[in-house]
Symmetry: C2
Subunit: 215 residues, 2 copies
Amino acid sequence: MTGRRGRPPKDVLSRDRILREALALVDEDGLAAVSMRKLARRLGVDPMSLYNHVDGKDALLDGIAEVLLAAIPPPPPGAGLRETMSALAHGFRAAMLGHPRAAPLVLTRQLASMTALAPVEAVLGPLLAAGFPPDRAVHALRAVLAFLIGTLMREVEAAPTFSGTDPEGVRRRLETLEEAGLPAVSAAAPFLAVCDHEAEFEFGLRILLDALAAG
Amino acid sequence: MTGRRGRPPKDVLSRDRILREALALVDEDGLAAVSMRKLARRLGVDPMSLYNHVDGKDALLDGIAEVLLAAIPPPPPGAGLRETMSALAHGFRAAMLGHPRAAPLVLTRQLASMTALAPVEAVLGPLLAAGFPPDRAVHALRAVLAFLIGTLMREVEAAPTFSGTDPEGVRRRLETLEEAGLPAVSAAAPFLAVCDHEAEFEFGLRILLDALAAG
DNA sequence: ACCTGAACACCGTTCAAGT
DNA sequence: ACCTGAACACCGTTCAAGT
C-alpha cells in the first residue's frame, strides 16, 4: 500500500523500462542511431543513470536481443516433432519480423542467457523423444538454426524494394543484372531481381525438415 | 618510364592500399576498432585524405567485404553440379576463415557489386546446365547460401573455447547448461557445450545438396 | 586532382559528488 | 541505492584552404 497513491509512484528508471525504450528507439531510427546519450534523453535522465541498470552499451544490445528472443511463443504442447520444429521456426521468424531493425542483434550475437535456452529445450525435447541420439539431435538443431539465421538475416537486411513491391526498383536491379554480361545470371535475372522471402523460408525449411525426417 | 626511378614513386594513397590496410587493422584489432582516424594514422596520412579514395566509412566496410569475396577461388571448370557447389561452399568458408573478424562484413551486408555476382554465376551456370529451371535454380542457390551464412556466422563469432580446445571453458559451459534445469538440454549438454564447426558445416551442406539432387 | 587541418556535432565511460 | 554532471579520450564528416 505504500508509495502507490496519487499519480504513479514516479516514472522511475528500471532495466525493463530502459530495454523497452531502447527497442522503440531501434524500431524508429535503426541500430546505428542507438547511443547511451540519446536513449537517456528519451528517458529524461542523465546518461550515466543508465549504468545503474545496464552494464554498458554492449550489455544493452544483448538485452534488446533477449527481449526479441523472449517473444518466441512456446510450441503447442501435444505436437509431434515436425509440427514442433515448424512452429518454433515460424515463431522465430515472426519475432524477428516484428522488429526487423533490431533482429540483427539476435542473428549476429552469441547469446548465452537462459532466454536463449528455452527454444533450444523446446526443439531438443521432441527430437530426443523421437529417438534421435543426443549428438544427432544437436546436429539437426544446428543445421536448422543456421538456415534460419541466414534467411532471416537476408530478409531483415533486404531493401524493401527487393520484396518486389516497387516496380521501379525491380527494373533497375534487373538492368544491373543483365549488364553484368554473365550468361547464367542474365538467364535467371527476373528471379534474382526479386525475393519472395516467405516462399524462400518455407522452401528451405521444408527441405531441411524432410532431410531430418528421412535421415 | 617517368616517375619510377630511384626509390618507389612514393607510398602514395590509393583505394587498394587503403582497403588492404583496413583489412589488416580488422584482422589485428577487430571490427569495433576500425575508425577513419586510426586507419589514417596507420597510413601516415590525414584522416580526410581517405575521402578522396573511399566514400566514407560505410563504403570502406563494403570495400573490405569485397576484398574477402574476391578471395573465393573459381570452381574447377569441368566439374559437375555437386562438385561445383561443394567447391564454392568450401571456398567461401576458407575465405571467411582467412579473416574471421572481417567475415561479418560479408555475412551481414547486402552486397550489390560485381564481385558478389561472380560466385552467383559460378553456381547458377551448372544448375541451369543440369536442367534446373531458372526459378528453381535461384531457390536452390538461396537455400544453400542462407545455410552458409548462418553456419559461418556462428563459426566466426564463436568464442575460441567453443571449438572444444580449452577444457576449462568447456567445463564451465557444461555446468551452465546442466544448471538450467531443462531436461533435454541437460541430456544433450555434452554435445551443446562444444561445436565441431567443420563437421556441422559438412553435415548441413550434405543434407542440402542431397535434397537438391533429389528434388 | 589530391591533400591538409580546423571545426562541428557527436560518442562511451570514469570519477567524484550529491541525495 | 540510485542519480548527476563534469571531464577524458575518442568518433565521422563538412568546409575552406592549400599544392
